[in-house]
Symmetry: C2
Subunit: 349 residues, 2 copies
Amino acid sequence: MSQDSEYSEGDLRNTGMSLKHDREWDYELDRIVEAVEERDATKVGLQFPEGLKRRGPRVADDIRELVPDDVTVMLSGQPCYGACDLDTFLMKRTDVFVHFGHSPMKNTDKVIYVPLFSNVDVFPIMEESLDELADPEDDPHVGLVTTAQHMNRFEEMKSWLDERGYEVHTRRGDDRLTHEGQVLGCNYASADIDADQVLYVGGGKFHPLGLAMEHPDKNVVIADPVNNVVTVADTEKFLKQRYASVHKAMDAEKWGVIFCTKIGQGRWEQAQEILDDNENAYLITMDEVTPDRLRNFDMDAFVNTGCPRITTDDGPQFHKPMLTPGEYEIAVGNKPLDELSFDTFHGTW
Amino acid sequence: MSQDSEYSEGDLRNTGMSLKHDREWDYELDRIVEAVEERDATKVGLQFPEGLKRRGPRVADDIRELVPDDVTVMLSGQPCYGACDLDTFLMKRTDVFVHFGHSPMKNTDKVIYVPLFSNVDVFPIMEESLDELADPEDDPHVGLVTTAQHMNRFEEMKSWLDERGYEVHTRRGDDRLTHEGQVLGCNYASADIDADQVLYVGGGKFHPLGLAMEHPDKNVVIADPVNNVVTVADTEKFLKQRYASVHKAMDAEKWGVIFCTKIGQGRWEQAQEILDDNENAYLITMDEVTPDRLRNFDMDAFVNTGCPRITTDDGPQFHKPMLTPGEYEIAVGNKPLDELSFDTFHGTW
């Protein structure tokens, strides 16, 4: 795979939001300026995902041109990899708060969500992906999923497959997802469709890997227009890594139970259950879950009730085994080894 | 200097809170348990500085033994290097919130502050420091300052110097400081005393360096009982680094103005002034100011209105020049080069 070598495996920045291709975006300045006028705003907050943060100053410039002089435009410097990384501090302290590039996890008047769609042409790589999909004469049923940034072409993708003889199955997932066919790193409910194969169109391999873990009975074909490569999701290496972590954690005495304080990531009941069940478990609260922050805690293993992508994709970077709540149950012997599954989130907040 | 080699220069963990010597602490469990009873608390939050985080689980165990079963004890996993790193999320969501190891920056009923005093014997190293202080027959006047963790021995230190013929000058600084003779990394008002020499008793060299920068007319002798070494604060290397950063930033077009959202670090007027004065300045808000978080912003230089220790001690780790507000004024030509001074904080919040 022609992965960007600057980003190591397990790096969440490697999500297709990095600017490998020149793109043009519509920042929906009209909507923002209108909100400033309507609310007599003096403070405007802008939040961009990591890969697009460098666009922030240009967007701020454009907004400053269009609004009164007394309006202060603020850029969020908090890490942002998804819709649950909402900068609630900035949101609460600005009159108009704009979150770019992710679709709402929950509709709220407090946030203006501006999607930033990729303008990469997805069809050449979809053409190549046909080699990995079953011939429509043998099996015409195919599921189609993509990420927020390619959502604007979703209907075209469906038609494109339809024209080639496929019966395309799509659905909107659960409340956590805005669009039909959309997947998140923590939610693949949109792939709960009646087909043995699913085509994922999008950058990176972490989303389709989660998808394949969540739907182990389906063949997951990855058409990646960002890295221009077609692959089939292979969960074997991923499973080996997870089993290795679980095995290492089986000897753990002291457990750190991480409760993530980010909006949309708090699973209090799950954390509380573990604490109630294990007197050597200690609740640790934090927003960003990073190796640095955990290094000073004298624990033998961690279980993360927050973002499963941190646990699995960044897992090897932590100094002690880092498990999902389901993996914890296996490690402490409450569940058999073969119940290892992917950790997903289904609610909003 | 026998610095702990694990910590690089500029590492804020190198503050004497790292456990080089065995120490015993009084966690004031009685006060905590009493507050739990009084408030019928079901949630108790504990926050420790980085170097003491590994003590957290043991303290949590002890508290759990002493309170009803339905009380959940939570450990803050947020980075903590000072009193302004208060975990306000945890504070707001727990009935009893305890901050260990730092003295209050502002008195509030919401927080139980538990000092954790060092039990390192300071007098052997003070004995050695006499070589660097003027003979009391020549100049008996000496200022005495220390950090929160040695505060319990402050009166003894004064007597000790007094017995050796010195006239010891001490004062409580401003509102930001709790104790007479106490210094913070961002505040040296307690050294505003009528003496040409100041003895700093404490770990690390960053505090006394700030002290020497803030009081350039005074000889600052460092008696470091943690690393067991006596030195005289030398601002030359520090100044060279700062001037190098200022010079590099002189060519900057695009400036990132950092507004730190941590309690006690927000200097809104200073940020606003820079924005008003410079149309190529962009306001960036964040809690932790780290090299990683700034890397994705396409700026030529940064000015940090938050913690001056991040700016100066961690400065070289940022990919672009990082200046204090005063240094910014020099870099853009509003002030002459020789006005470079140390950035300090004087209010509470």
